[in-house]
Amino acid sequence: MQHSREFLLDCYQSMVTIRVFEERVHEEFATGKIPGFVHLYAGEEASAVGICSQLDERDAIASTHRGHGHCIAKGCDVHAMMKEIYGKRGGSCGGKGGSMHIADLAKGMLGANGIVGGGPPLICGAALTAKYLKTGGVAVAFVGDGGSNQGTTLESYNLANVWKLPVVFVVEDNGYAEATASAWSVAGSQLGRAAGFGMPGTLVDGFDFFAVYEAARTAIERARAGEGPSLLHIKLSRFFGHFEGDAMSYRADGEIQRYRNEHDALKIFRRKVTEAHLLDDFTLDAVEAGVVRNINEAVAGAEADQMPTEADLLTDVYVRY
């Protein structure tokens, strides 16, 4: 499929934003400025952007504990996200959610989720809303290889197929559920599971934006046409640990460096678009420089922002008390 220059630039900017955002959170976490649990998405950018770049505000996604990339790809404000991760009042959720609960419902981002497998049932509901109100919207549930083993996920495969919902299930298989290999923990196969529920399943090279884009296009078109759900099994890798502070002793020596050298989604994208003369290095460098400036501003803004106050503790439990 032919992509416009503007579209490719937008997608590159999104992927670079995720990468720089996560690399920076990694650095700042190490200084002790960021409280709590943080799970970074660096290395998996082509998946979030290859899929979310085809969605609009009618469409909903549900994310995982590793949610920053999905949030950025679905259009969440990066400055508000950074403030949220710092626990500040100006954050996406007023500092009440944190890294694992960033959401923007107006943009169809139904939240990162601290519960592995929490999202797929919710996405069936978002798809039911789209189908019932005839919005033309589709709903995308991201889970990891760990989440693919949850009953909620498998039940959602069943329900989405029984109700013929406009859903795309995306299994982002980065090889590890926390510290346990997906090669060991997943019985059968993701595609075998899709087939078992009677839906198409596609194995996708998650380092290649264009491969993700094409597989997702087919699944999204199928959902929009009212033909029901599909599953994408996206193989990729995370460049950091399960969470920040993970020493990753379960990974092979040199594994991450090898992924960074040979399977970096950003480098692969750059090579493909420059070799095809769709974009040049100069333009891509300028995008990167712009992103770095933006993330610097996001961090400065987060550091300068106020903490929530005691008065904020008791609000927002209910719509009406």
Binding site: Y132, Y318, V319
Partner: protein
């Protein structure tokens, strides 16, 4: 005014809200019944017939039968609510919360707070509770205290047909997640219920009997037991106030504290287990806020700390009884301060 059962009252409330607002949909296991089967559609209307007749009137787009898959469809109801519908989902027996509680207490209950006040999740989860059907340990529990414990949920425990209709309409119009507890033994109880729609606000207790000597706070089916006890005690010269809080979350503390300040004696009647229960919660409230009003120790009448037994001989002594309530009140009323 026409007499209607608790079952009819709930059905009427849902139907009238479905006519009023096209975003209201119903989903659950066999809510119509017979889906995909060779026999008649709307075969059951729910396992005890509460949603009977909704399918013929509102059609399959709005009355959805589900696989036996509570995590998926309760979660779908939550996701649909967060994206613009107003689902009324049925968790057939509250005992089944064990397979889907995450979607209720980690997802629905917390969206608004976690997302900084930007989420609205107007889902109603209807569920059956309570003993008396010889349904044994996994189909008889009174688990409303577990839901009451969770900030972000509203918990409704209607005690009669009139109450059930007004509280259900309120629940469907409410913008927060509501867990609506229907006592299975009350389904065939009848009383006068208006045909027109009306709401009963949450967090406003109903005083069903007014008296001077002892305050009883009771929940759900136990309100009727408490009323009977109060009427019988009146003949013995003991004057009892009975308070039906209607909702355990929010809880109308004021009505309870005001009454205890007048009577100085409190009995809480709760069909749930005694530990971390509504009985314990209200005893805590009164001990903290009204200690100096008390003329006697607080008494609680609850089920014992055991699973619900099957044998009728055991279940009958498991469930709090009018006799136990009366005995507790009589013992308290006898404690006249010097």
């Amino acid at each position: 005014m026409p007499k209607k059962t608790y079952r009819q009252a709930i059905n009427e409330a849902i139907a009238s809200e479905m006519r009023r607002d096209h975003r209201v949909i119903v989903l659950g296991e066999d809510n119509a019944g017979g889906k995909g089967a060779p026999g008649e559609p709307d075969a059951w209307g729910g396992v005890l017939g509460v949603t009977k007749g909704l399918l013929p009137e509102f059609g399959e787009d709005r009355v959805l039968d589900t696989p036996i898959s509570e995590s998926a469809f309760i979660g779908a109801a939550v996701g649909a609510a967060a994206t613009g519908l107003r689902p009324v989902a049925e968790l057939m027996f509250v005992d089944f919360m064990g397979v889907c509680f995450d979607q209720i207490f980690n997802q629905a209950a917390k969206f608004r707070y976690m997302f900084g006040g930007k989420a609205v999740t107007p889902v109603v989860i209807r569920t059956m509770y309570g003993g008396g059907f010889r349904a044994a340990s996994q189909h008889s529990q009174c688990l409303y205290p577990l839901f009451t414990h969770i900030p972000g949920l509203k918990v409704v425990v209607p005690s009669s047909p009139y109450e059930a209709k007004g509280l259900m309409i309120q629940a469907i119009r409410d913008d927060d997640p509501v867990i609506f507890f229907e006592h299975k033994v009350l389904y065939d109880v009848e009383e006068d219920v208006p045909d027109e729609a009306y709401t009963i606000p949450f967090g406003e207790a109903n005083v069903t009997r007014e008296g001077r000597d002892v305050t009883i706070v009771a929940f759900g089916r136990m309100v009727g037991f408490a009323n009977t006890a109060a009427d019988e005690l009146k003949r013995d010269g003991i004057s009892v106030t009975v308070i039906d809080p209607r909702t355990t979350s929010p809880l109308d503390s004021e009505t309870i504290l005001d009454s205890v300040s007048e009577t100085g004696r409190l009995v809480v009647v709760d069909e749930a287990h005694p530990r971390c229960s509504m009985a314990a919660d209200i005893a805590r409230l009164v001990a903290e806020e009204a200690f100096h009003d008390l003329k006697a120790p607080i008494r609680t009448i609850t089920a014992p700390h055991t699973p619900v037994p099957f044998s009728p001989a055991l279940e009958d002594i498991y469930i709090p009884s009018v006799a136990k309530i009366k005995a507790a009140v009589q013992a308290l009323a006898a404690k006249v301060p010097a």
